[in-house]
């Protein structure tokens, strides 16, 4: 069947600022093969012009179109709807960004602009002929479950906010502590494995002793951070060592700590792994201030590499210093050390004085928040990336702040990086709201530009399965790779990496790309 192409020139952009010779472009389009109609409109986003485009397309029984206008994201979605009305598949509408790629960079070079516009038009026409129509499909979500991993500050906020949207929340908490939150709460719960795609995940969870299968439309990761404890020989030697939150709880309960108190940021005073991700700077300052106010006689040292008192915490830093809290800054050259033979003295090189201090302490408090140990298992199960430090990595902020690269998986709070309580809460609310909204839609849309495996060429080497960030490829019943279209995001990574060239991306096949390139370069190459 011969292609019937309609070429639309949008004057709003192409004539701007009267740079291009429209007549030449029109003639070029009209003289090309397969072009049935050439239209010049004032603005393709305008309703009246859209109607003209549709009428023309219907009259001439057009089946594909090339539109010379601006960037895809600037063009009104109404254009695609209009073409749909005229019976043109949306994947057969080829856009050429004349405004940003031709007009704006060449405002003072009309000849170059004209040549580029013509080349781009020819390329688009060559590509348009080779495109095939595609359809997008929808699938109902099987459940309305939002599974939230972790019932800390951010997890509880997420559960509360998600439940408001009318979805069903399931909160997995590793420990057995009682939690007040809407929905089902699974104590001693853990995520063991996961499969599926955004909207229809299948999770394997451990609830107490039982292992259960659980369907989830969306997942919120709110694992938070961990706390440091002493290990090895030091653990036996140093009696009064405890994490900051426990120290704070004891202080609130009214017990007086043994003076002097050292609050230290390092996760390992034995001196081996000194990588500090971050520590609870504002909790440290708050605790120190409260302690000093309650028991002014107590000596308090804060030993740290970098005082990261962000934002208004700076005021607390100042107040703590005024109350007589002693701040000792060290660096990797003189890290704090405790000898197990002398377990009540910490030696550290204070950079402000340039001298080694030997501080005798009564209580040792750890304020370091290393990444949660469970992150790796969760990230592996859900196939989302981690940072080098062992935290969950957020997706690019270009999308939404608490999203991950996989649709339907959100992450918030200290699972990303140690955060203050109010920030963690706000992030939890945002993640919960977004997960709720995602599930409320009830269906997922997929298909269109997705990958496809030519089974005869596939050698089942598993390279695509290892490469795909979305778990789209799998080995089917024929022992060959197949693509789970619901999961495929059309990124093309498997296409590039397949050693047998067995995978192609719809409408970005080798032939299509080569043909367009050949025309753009003006002939054979």
């Amino acid at each position: 069947m011969k292609a019937k192409i309609q070429v639309v020139l949008c004057k709003c952009c192409t004539e701007m600022p009267a740079l291009l010779n429209m007549e030449r472009l029109q003639r070029l389009a009209a003289e090309s093969n397969n072009v049935l109609s050439v239209l010049t409109v004032d603005a393709v986003c305008d309703g009246k012009d859209l109607a003209a485009v549709v009428t023309d397309a219907k009259d001439k029984e057009i089946d594909r179109a090339v539109v010379l206008a601006c960037h895809k994201k600037d063009i009104s979605p109404a254009l695609f709807k209009a073409y749909k009305r005229a019976g043109v598949n949306e994947f057969l509408v080829e856009l050429v960004n004349i405004r940003e790629e031709v007009v704006l960079p060449h405002t003072n070079m009309p000849e170059k602009a004209q040549a580029k516009a013509e080349a781009k038009l020819k390329g688009a026409l060559a590509r348009s002929v080779m495109l095939s129509p595609l359809e997008r499909q929808t699938e109902e979500m099987k459940t309305r479950n939002v599974v939230i991993i972790g019932a800390g500050v951010s997890g509880q906020a997420a559960a509360l906010e998600a439940s408001k949207t009318g979805v069903h929340t399931i909160l997995l908490e590793k420990t057995g502590k009682t939690i007040k939150a809407p929905g089902v709460i699974v104590t001693h719960g853990q995520l063991l494995g996961a499969s599926g795609y955004g909207g229809n995940y299948q999770l394997k969870i451990k609830a107490g002793e039982k292992v259960e299968e659980l369907g989830a439309a969306a997942v919120v990761i709110a694992t938070g951070g961990g706390w440091t404890t002493l290990k090895g020989s030091l653990a036996k030697a140093v009696r009064d060592a405890l994490p900051l939150y426990k120290f704070y709880e004891q202080m609130q309960a009214g017990s007086a700590p043994k003076s002097p108190v050292i609050i230290v940021d390092t996760p390992d005073p034995a001196g081996k792994t000194l990588k500090v991700q971050d520590y609870a700077w504002d909790d440290t300052l708050e605790t120190a201030i409260e302690l000093k106010k309650k028991l002014p006689e107590t000596q308090v040292f804060v030993v740290f590499q970098e005082m990261r008192a962000f934002g208004l915490s700076e005021l607390a830093y100042k107040e703590a210093a005024e109350l007589g809290v002693k701040f000792v800054r060290y660096d990797t050259a003189g890290t704090p050390k405790i000898d197990s033979k002398n377990p009540t003295t910490m030696s550290v090189k204070d950079l402000a004085q340039g001298e080694i201090l030997n501080i005798k302490f009564g209580t040792l408090v750890f304020a370091s928040i290393p990444p949660n140990q469970d992150n790796k298992a969760i990230a592996d199960a859900l196939r989302i990336p981690m940072s080098v430090d062992g935290a969950i990595r957020r997706g690019s902020i270009q999308r939404w702040p608490v999203s991950t690269p996989r649709p339907g998986i959100f992450v918030c709070g200290s699972a990303l990086f140690p955060k203050a309580k109010d920030v963690a809460e706000a992030e939890g609310m945002a993640a919960g709201a977004m997960a709720g909204e995602f599930v409320k839609r009830g269906r997922i849309e997929f298909g269109g530009i997705v990958a496809q495996v030519t089974q005869e060429k596939c050698s089942a080497c598993l390279t695509c399965i290892r490469t795909c960030p979305y778990e789209a490829p799998f080995i089917g019943t024929a022992s060959k790779a197949e693509i789970r279209v619901q999961a495929c995001q059309g990124c093309g990574m498997c296409v590039g990496i397949c050693p047998s060239k067995a995978i192609e991306l719809h409408n970005y096949t080798d032939d299509q790309i080569m043909e367009e390139t050949r025309v753009l370069l003006g002939g054979d190459f």
């Binding site: 701007m16 906010e161 902020i397």
Partner: protein, 411 residues
Amino acid sequence: MKQVLVIGGGPAGLTATKSLVDRGAEVVLVEKKESLGGMARELTCKGLVECRNCGVCFAIDRANDVLRERNAEVHLLSEVMSVQKSDHGYSVKIKTSPRYVTEDCIGCGKCVVECPVEGKAIFPPTGNGQPRIHWIERGKCLHFKKAKCEKCSSVCPTKAVDYEDRARNVIRNVGAIIYATGIDPIDACEMSRLGCGVLDDVVSSVDAERILNETGKLVRPSDGKAPKKIAVMQCVGSRSVKTGVEYCSKFCCKYATKISQLLLDIDPEINLDFYFVDLRTLYEPQDEFKAWAKAKKTVKLIRTMPAVVSPGKDGKLLVRAATENDLEITETEYDLVILSVGMRPAGANSELGKSLGIAADQTGFAPGGPELEGKGVFVCGAVTEPMDIEETASRAVAAASKIYHMKEEGA
């Protein structure tokens, strides 16, 4: 369903608007300036080689989204004149100043070239601000004086200049208000000892970002040459008793480290000295930047607050600083000095804010709170406390969710 008023078209206001509109609410967005994007308009993308997650494009993309939403009514060059409590919410009077350029503008810029006024009277939108429609400042334009100049109108290819444009007043009834007036950068010249305003080659980080955003490279303002040795100074204006900004502005270390990395990406030969007091790279491991600096042979991290920047030999700048242990004083010559300025909340103490019950606390920020939220007034974004774009966005989504469900409960 009642509408929601969003005051401020920066990252916070835009994210909240988009979130609300996505849920099916109607939003009236009021922005004082001529385009949407807020502070992010003049900031530069900091990823030349790889995305550095600075969040600037996030704000600009949201501006684009919001402009295309039917349920978001955007008022630019507008101010909220008064807010009155009515039976079911608030009655809001919005005053829009005339723009004198219609939506037909395609942003070609011919009018700006033609404008005879010194310093121009017709402007493109600031930085990356959206929409890309020009505007005329009435006070400067000769058309409104005796001259009756019509040069811009005569060259406009789309006849978008409309001198008959008038100020408009509209009244909207809204159920809730988001107050997201954002921040103002601190003027680096308040710290006069660092040479701002006196020496041409001392630029604030805001200027540096603007130049990088517009031209893609940073040159010395005095002679247009590419700088070979650059000093970046942290905590200018922040953590200072003199400027009254005693808090830490939270995002300066984040953007300054990213600008430094960008400058090195553009020209790997640059010698860069990074003066800082505490390295507070927000939500990033503290040793990441240190490791990067160590790997680059030409980058030096110096922990001190420089004392004075004075003119040196051959147009260079002389920076006097004490060493970290206070034992010596060093003098180093630089081609360019970038001062990383902090921020102050904008509109935390405005008349409008007071009429809504929003008042600044002793830190200068207006934190809002449950009491105000019960009345349907949500304070959001960096006017509540120092924060970066990413945190702002999370909080805006949270605020939008709260409002949406508040409305449902009330209905």
